[in-house]
């Protein structure tokens, strides 16, 4: 009979350095999957949300339906959303990404539209008076001015996506959620706590990163504040 090693893994402790060193690769893989799921979803959502918001701004009648539809999508619980998409995507990472995209859409469309609507009419008229066409007005005046509001939405969407991605564990593509799910079934405390903490760390890091990007992209907002 071999002696059972008396380490924190054997004692099933919450905090365990042994776990970190022996499962390093598993943790890295989970973090990478988590980052990929989140980044791909938020980027796709952004690509869809910007035109939707611009359309809703251009044509007032489109705003109602666009906002209503994205809000309805947001109301549907995440587990249900992933399950409803199951027949379309099967058990795949695309299923989780599709679900996360639908969630991020509400936050992004709402915030970008709010930002576009907040552009002062004077500013728009001044740009038009200077001979700006609608495209140039949108790209060089309206969208940059909508950036602070849009970035606020992007930050919330990203943080929410990091936390929602864990639910993807139900189809086996939940990044750190997979470790949490597996740890729950085997009562593996160190794994559950480590994966949970990593989730929060990713969310906070992503939030700070986006805050930094926002500061770089919108130097004028700092001048106003000081």
């Amino acid at each position: 009979m071999t002696a059972i090693p008396d380490d924190c893994l054997a004692r099933n402790e919450w905090i365990c350095g042994e776990y970190l060193s022996t499962r390093r690769q598993i943790l890295i893989d989970a973090v990478v999957q988590h980052l990929q799921l989140t980044a791909v979803s938020v980027l796709i959502a952004l690509v869809v949300a910007v035109p939707l918001a611009v359309l809703a701004r251009r044509w007032g009648w489109a705003a109602g339906p666009v906002l209503a539809l994205t809000t309805i999508l947001y109301t549907i619980p995440s587990l249900a959303m992933f399950s409803l998409l199951l027949p379309v995507y099967g058990l795949s990472a695309a299923l989780v990404v599709a679900g996360l995209v639908l969630y991020s859409l509400t936050l992004l469309v709402r915030n970008i539209l709010a930002g576009l609507r907040a552009v002062p009419e004077d500013t728009r008229q001044a740009a038009r008076g200077m001979g700006y066409g609608p495209i140039r007005l949108l790209l060089t005046v309206e969208l940059p001015l909508a950036l602070p509001a849009a970035m606020a939405g992007l930050r919330i969407a990203t943080v929410s996506a990091v936390s929602l991605a864990t639910v993807g564990a139900i189809v086996g593509f939940g990044g750190l959620g997979n470790l949490i799910y597996a740890g729950m079934n085997t009562y593996f405390k160190a794994q559950v706590l480590t994966a949970s903490v990593l989730c929060v760390v990713i969310a906070v890091a992503a939030d700070l990163l986006l805050l930094g990007v926002q500061r770089v992209l919108t130097p004028w907002t700092r001048a106003v504040r000081s």
Binding site: T75, P77, S83, L84, L86, M184, Y187, V192, C199
Partner: protein, 226 residues
């Protein structure tokens, strides 16, 4: 389309409605969980928010709690609680996790609502000789009500969604139909459960929407603080 037909067939099979794993029992569980947790979170969050708002202190705290809450994955908290001694106490972990997630929107909205009350009105009330308590109940709270109620609405919808995820961690509710479907590899059951949860969440949202429309003008929501 075939899957939807299968899901419909699953839903309309009376055998699936009866018993402890039946739809009726799961629906009731979901409703009871949501209502109990909503009441508990209101009891915790609203007094704190109203007092802090009245005193004008702790605003950063109220808003930050809400932001941090978003970064913490519900699923991770549920599993963490499940592995603590609390896990042996039936629905204990579910209730605690649900309340934890419903408190931030309630707290933030109520606080922002209280602080948003026009200061000149508060000064007028003070000038009329109202005590702090009278001001809180007769002036600030009624004026803050739209935002307070908007927080309750956000919390309620969030609770319905989170109660679904609770099923992943062994809790009851409609989510259980979905997780059982995954275990049985029955897409029909997964989709049927998802439709049930989605309809449930949309109904809750609809009820609040209707209540808002029926409310007198001054009590109507004018927006939310997130």
């Amino acid at each position: 389309m075939k899957t939807l037909g299968d899901a419909w067939a699953w839903l309309t099979d009376s055998a699936h409605w009866a018993g402890d794993d039946g739809i009726w029992h799961r629906l009731t569980q979901h409703l009871v969980l949501t209502v109990v947790c909503l009441l508990l979170s209101c009891l915790i969050a609203l007094p704190i928010a109203l007092v802090l708002g009245h005193l004008g202190r702790g605003g950063a705290l109220a808003v930050n709690i809400s932001n941090v809450g978003r970064a913490v994955p519900t699923f991770a908290v549920l599993v963490l609680l499940l592995l603590t001694p609390l896990g042996k106490w039936g629905e204990g972990p579910t209730v605690v996790a649900l309340v934890l997630f419903a408190v931030p929107p309630l707290l933030t909205n109520a606080y922002v609502g209280m602080r948003g009350v026009d200061r000149s009105i508060v000064r007028a009330a003070r000038g009329m000789g109202m005590t702090g308590r009278q001001m809180l109940w007769r002036v600030e709270l009624p004026l803050a009500l739209p935002l307070v109620l908007s927080g309750v609405r956000i919390a309620a919808v969030q609770l319905v969604a989170t109660a679904t995820i609770a099923a992943l961690a062994g809790g009851g509710g409609i989510g259980r139909i979905i997780t059982a479907g995954f275990n049985l590899a029955s897409t029909a059951q997964v989709v049927a459960g998802a439709v049930l949860v989605a309809v449930f969440a949309l109904l809750v949202e609809g009820v609040f929407e209707a209540a808002e429309r029926l409310a007198p003008g001054w009590a109507r929501t004018r927006g939310s603080a997130g």
